[in-house]
Symmetry: C2
Subunit: 347 residues, 2 copies
Amino acid sequence: MFRPVLAKMLPYTPGEQPAPGKCVKLNTNENPYPPPPAVIDAICSAAKGPLNRYPDPMANSFRIAAANALGLPGPEWILAGNGSDDILTILVRGFVGEGQRLRLPYPSYILYRTLADIQGAAWEQVPFQDGWKLPAAFGEADDDVRLVFLPNPNSPSGTIVSPAEVAKIAESLSCPLVVDEAYADFADTNCLDLVQKNDRIMVTRTLSKSYGLAGMRFGFLVAQPQVISELSKIKDSYNCDALAIAAATAAMGCSEWLAEICIKMNATRDRMATKLAEIGFDVTPSHANFVWCQHPTADHKAIYEFLKSNQILVRYMDFPTWGDGLRISVGTDDQIDACLMMIERAL
Amino acid sequence: MFRPVLAKMLPYTPGEQPAPGKCVKLNTNENPYPPPPAVIDAICSAAKGPLNRYPDPMANSFRIAAANALGLPGPEWILAGNGSDDILTILVRGFVGEGQRLRLPYPSYILYRTLADIQGAAWEQVPFQDGWKLPAAFGEADDDVRLVFLPNPNSPSGTIVSPAEVAKIAESLSCPLVVDEAYADFADTNCLDLVQKNDRIMVTRTLSKSYGLAGMRFGFLVAQPQVISELSKIKDSYNCDALAIAAATAAMGCSEWLAEICIKMNATRDRMATKLAEIGFDVTPSHANFVWCQHPTADHKAIYEFLKSNQILVRYMDFPTWGDGLRISVGTDDQIDACLMMIERAL
């Protein structure tokens, strides 16, 4: 009774989510710090508000605050989503029909493939070149390719493609390019400015990482108003709830908090990267809140298992034809010290 | 650059959502009363919890509580969603491919058609017969029809099809039958028991109506475990946020509150129905938290406009080939008195 595409597809498996407090959790790029206090206040206040009433379908209070915080021309450049996963789903449904194709770099975020599978669409992966550069093939026009995803900074590498290069890729493509900026708050550059110059460049953001709101589910799309308007047809009427809208609106007013938390986390990240290099890892320079590292001789899976048996969760990732390694999220300094100590023991 | 199906489709338009407190809102079947206090406490408590961590992908605390509250064999019979709209989307994506068809009765919930449109699928409407009975055509097997939706109680009519009749329809169909029980808490019967007897009968529920949690977005599906498991592949990994899971879990413990609120609202509904009949309306006997009424001579649109100009919002609905009328949600007794007084003035 199900669509045949479902039987064939493997479900996307998110990182392990053990019960809270049971371990040092460095496997899903969450923020180790709680969200801004103003956000928590906004939630409790909204909880005492008219929860019996449907929320604003377009989350306009958030859109106004976000346009202001990000320096966008207006709220009509923003589409709010129930996490950026919701936005990614809307994008795939908006641009890619059954039997058509989407493109992603490799290795990157596996979820794009799952979204194609669910849609009955195909996906093609373009491998990164040495030094995490994108080959010309990534920007090649192709009538069957209806959407291209570029996570930037990328996961698992934490590497970034410059806005100038992104603009060039978009120019050569014949379809929209979605720059998934889940980790952009930790980087020095982003592609927001490009959206105003090219209606086929779109940027997605999430509050799950830098804002410490993974539990809240809130993400958004930045695109030209006519694109936002058309994509709005696809979203659930009330895709964001009243509490999430209140929380996200409050978060947009916390730019100082955000700047401070990113400086703090990036300092921890750089310290972790230096130490990992000292103990023999090849560490990819990261612009995100995690570090990708590979050891020339040690068994990555064994290190992951040893850490796990000591209540430290990192992400072991194995990319066929490409290699495996460890992706370690930035935790508190204490958590990273504990993790590094255990890795040394494992070697 | 968009899929052609989008250009052709009309977006679903939810009922008007004016700024809170501006008017008597009887147009979207919300609960006029706030949710149970335990739910608000649960939200505030969860807001102070680990919001920086991803929520439980399957919302297991809710599933356990709901299975218990509803007398289901276990949590694996439940799929949680970001509102029942999320569940309806998952169902369409799970069963209906591009170019295939879904079936719905007419008049009923317009959203099913929108969901088919987004999917690039077709829809067919089977008109209710006199007395809101379903004709044999509604249960006719057809290889191209991949999913049948039956809102029960139905909107806008508030009428209900008996579980025995639902079982018979499901037997004759060649595809799954989704019984959308958004309003079932206000009715005397429901189809939960049928799910255990037939793996092609599924029931959807929402916390938006009876629990007074429209602002929260939480709905769920009851189906056999193998169906839940397959449909889980389609949902966003973290479709329900930590606050919604906490709220919904707490709500499942409020069965006494629920019983009382439904008795209270049904009393108001029946009083409204009696009065509307007294002043000349044909009132369809309702098993939901709204009443559908038609006046033999008065202009329904004009009544709606007059009410709106007096800060009372009801739903004017016009179903081509079938007729128009007013759908009035159950409000507080004071709100309904105000509405009835204004309707009398409008006549």
